[in-house]
């Protein structure tokens, strides 16, 4: 990927061409202008406003009713006994780790296998299908399939002589049932990125290893995985950033994070705090806490990979 934060980014411009440099400087801002304008309006202003809101109590639309409460929302989050830490935060982590890691491993195996098969394009297309299907569609279709009375999956299990599983009604299973759906729908984009990475590994590497007598598992482990590291890091980092925030699927499939709180995640709780209970301050505080969590997990991944030898991601 060739990405390194510390490296000097700009091209080295020859000395003695001062005029060009200043002119270029202005041009830089001009090229950045569209991005900066949009960032300012739709990102920076909202960010500052949300940060401010997280220290207030506010029911929603009348600015005159904003009440400053200091760190109360943050304190409440950690010590208020609202169940935000457990089960909501733990659910968020389980959901993110479960859906990202499982879909990554499956995607890694499948994309490796696909490159060795005939009709490569056909197989790949199959796995891409969920990617272009919107989340409302995915959630509903799986809800139908999970139905304990006349859903596809349970009648399949029953034919095999297995008992009915209450996928969405059993609080010990519900979160994992949603994770399965997240994996199903997320596998496509992981395969897309990983197969692109696989295609960029020259055949000669494999040939050399095969001559050395490596079996296909060792080939995979010793040749493919190391060379694929940048793609892997990319899949994991973007996956976690998305997975930790995501609640669309849970909103569609369970409506309220039920049964009980068993599928409730931070994203959904924020949404409800704001739109259902009129607690905008708490909702904003939660968003910042979530940001810090995402940041920490991302930094850990970067560090792990850097120590594992991916120098320049």
């Amino acid at each position: 990927m060739g990405y390194e934060l510390n490296k000097q980014i700009a091209p080295q411009v020859k000395q003695g061409r001062k005029k060009m440099i200043t002119q270029q400087g202005v041009m830089g801002y001009i090229f950045m202008l569209p991005s900066l304008v949009f960032y300012f309006i739709f990102l920076l202003i909202p960010l500052v406003f949300s940060l401010f809101l997280s220290f207030t109590e506010w029911g929603g639309f009348d600015f005159s009713l904003i009440k400053w409460v200091g760190f109360k929302n943050y304190k409440d989050f950690f010590f208020g006994g609202h169940g935000f830490l457990y089960p909501v935060l733990t659910n968020t982590l389980i959901f993110a780790f479960g859906s990202v890691l499982v879909s990554f491993f499956i995607a890694l195996v499948i994309s490796y296998m696909i490159t060795r098969l005939r009709l490569e394009g056909f197989w790949r297309t199959l796995y891409f299908l969920p990617m272009v299907t919107n989340v409302v569609a995915v959630g509903n279709v799986w809800d139908f399939m999970y139905d304990p009375t006349n859903g596809l999956i349970n009648s399949f299990l029953n034919t095999l002589g297995l008992p009915t599983v209450k996928f969405m009604d059993n609080p010990h299973i519900a979160l994992y049932s949603v994770i399965i759906v997240a994996v199903w729908s997320g596998i496509g984009s992981a395969i897309l990125i990983l197969s692109a990475g696989l295609k960029n590994i020259p055949d000669s590497y494999y040939e050399a290893a095969t001559i050395d007598g490596a079996g296909s598992f060792r080939l995979f482990w010793n040749v493919t995985v190391p060379l694929l590291k940048p793609s892997i890091l990319f899949v994991l980092i973007t996956g976690f950033i998305g997975g930790l925030q995501s609640f669309n699927l849970i909103l569609v499939m369970t409506g309220d994070g039920g049964p009980g709180n068993s599928t409730n995640v931070l994203g959904l709780e924020m949404y409800n705090q704001a739109f259902k209970y009129g607690q905008w301050g708490m909702a904003s505080a939660m968003a910042f806490i979530l940001f810090v969590i995402v940041l920490i997990i991302t930094l850990i991944q970067l560090r792990v990979f850097r120590s594992g030898g991916v120098e320049n991601y």
Partner: protein
């Protein structure tokens, strides 16, 4: 080349600017003509009925035209709040009584004029007045009031040898046991007693109704304290759990659908359900009957009540006209002596609340199935519509669901609910 880039950019901007001009709304008001928007959660089929009366008004009042807009119930509150934010608010909103506190706190609703409050205070039952007031201040016209009762299927009861519905908790349990049928693998084919689930009221309201028959309470009378740690609350929940533990009630069996499908013999639900059962069950509807909710010894009474009311938006530029329309809809007696609102409600199988309407429509309301709901108006306890109303309802719902699915014991569940709710009430 520079030119080309610029021209493409300009074109893109133009395209979007053009599409921006596409829609513009008519706000009216220039020629003395006022257009009011009315926001409700009524479905398309219900809308057709309601429109009859709106059209009647629009014909009589060419200068105050009313337009109806509808969103589904799940999105009603967030729509009201979001519209408020944008200055796009509807002039009249039809809202759930539970939200009264929240809407009041955010100054969404306008105070009704004196003629309206006088009319309401002298013509509606107490339960209706309470559910459309916050801190004793009326917020709008009560429209529908719902109470809870026991729905049962006469045919299924007869098959099991019963001619009348249960009166006591023990009777209800024994009958449910007999009415439950399972296949050889133990999968439920017919459920004796079903518990609704899927949304907050479905989980919370039947429990609270049973609790009231047992002499218990949800909150203290001043709404400052939860009373879910009482022995009554524990008994009531133990009673609900008896059905689940013995396998009579299967939580993953959709009781709402199942009842309409004649797979569920008994369940507790609100009066509006009659109307929807009538449409879905067609000729099988004749077997549906309603009875008061059984109490422990057969002498107690209990039900929760909730309702809707029409309020006028504080931001509306035409408050006066809006109240005029609402007063007409809710108090003007039409040809048969009943108001437009009440005729709309009755057409949906919903019981109207205005005293005079219940009299004027006595023929339409003579159906014995309506009686338990009307009678319950006398003793039903209104859902507390305080600021945290929605929050504490969700808290209780989550705890009940956790107990139902055996993640925690009845005692812990109720204690947790009590603790969390007390925190919100502070």
């Amino acid at each position: 080349m520079k030119k080309k880039l610029i021209s493409i950019t300009v074109m893109i901007i133009l395209i979007f600017a053009l599409s921006a001009c596409g829609s513009s709304k008519d706000s009216g008001g220039k020629d003395g003509k006022v257009t009011l928007t009315l926001l409700t959660h009524y479905s398309a089929q219900q809308e057709d009925e309601l429109m009859k009366y709106i059209k009647m008004w629009n014909k009589e009042n060419p200068n105050i035209q009313v337009k109806h807009k509808s969103v589904n119930f799940d999105n009603l509150l967030s729509t009201v709040m979001a519209q408020q934010t944008s200055g796009q608010s509807s002039d009249i909103v039809h809202v759930y009584s539970l939200w009264g506190g929240q809407l009041n706190q955010s100054h969404v609703l306008a105070t009704p004029p004196k003629d309206v409050t006088d009319d309401i205070k002298s013509n509606y039952p107490d339960a209706a007045i309470k559910s459309s007031s916050v801190n004793g201040n009326l917020l709008g016209y009560p429209s529908e009031i719902e109470t809870y009762a026991l729905f049962y299927n006469k045919k299924l009861l007869k098959e099991a040898g019963y001619d009348s519905p249960p009166k006591t908790w023990d009777e209800m349990y024994e009958m449910s046991e007999k009415l439950t049928k399972k296949d050889s693998k133990g999968k439920i084919k017919q459920e004796g007693f079903g518990l609704l689930s899927g949304w907050d009221s479905a989980v919370v309201h039947p429990y609270l109704s049973l609790l009231y028959t047992n002499g218990g309470n949800f909150l203290s009378s001043n709404h400052k304290q939860a009373e879910l740690n009482s022995p009554e609350a524990q008994q009531t929940f133990d009673y609900e759990m008896k059905f689940i533990n013995s396998g009579i009630t299967d939580r993953s069996f959709d009781a709402q659908k199942g009842f309409a499908n004649e797979d569920v013999a008994m369940t507790i639900n609100a009066g509006w359900w009659l109307g929807s059962l009538k449409t879905t069950m067609k000729d099988k509807f004749k077997d549906v009957a309603v009875a008061p909710i059984p109490s422990p010894d057969g002498n107690g009474q209990g039900s929760i009540s909730y309702g809707y009311f029409y309020g006028v938006n504080n931001q509306s530029k035409h408050k006066e006209e809006a109240w005029k329309f609402l007063k007409w809809l809710n108090s003007k007696e039409l040809d048969n002596g009943a108001t437009g609102e009440s005729q709309f409600l009755v057409s949906q199988g919903i019981i109207p609340t205005r005293n005079s309407d219940i009299k004027a429509l006595s023929k339409e309301l003579s159906d014995p199935n309506y009686k338990p709901f009307i009678n319950a108006l006398d003793f039903a306890k209104p859902e507390p519509n305080i600021f945290a109303g929605q929050k504490i309802k969700t808290d209780l719902q989550k705890q009940i669901e956790q107990v139902w699915s055996k993640q925690t014991s009845v005692k812990n569940g109720l204690n947790n609910a009590n603790k969390v709710i007390n925190q919100e009430l502070k």
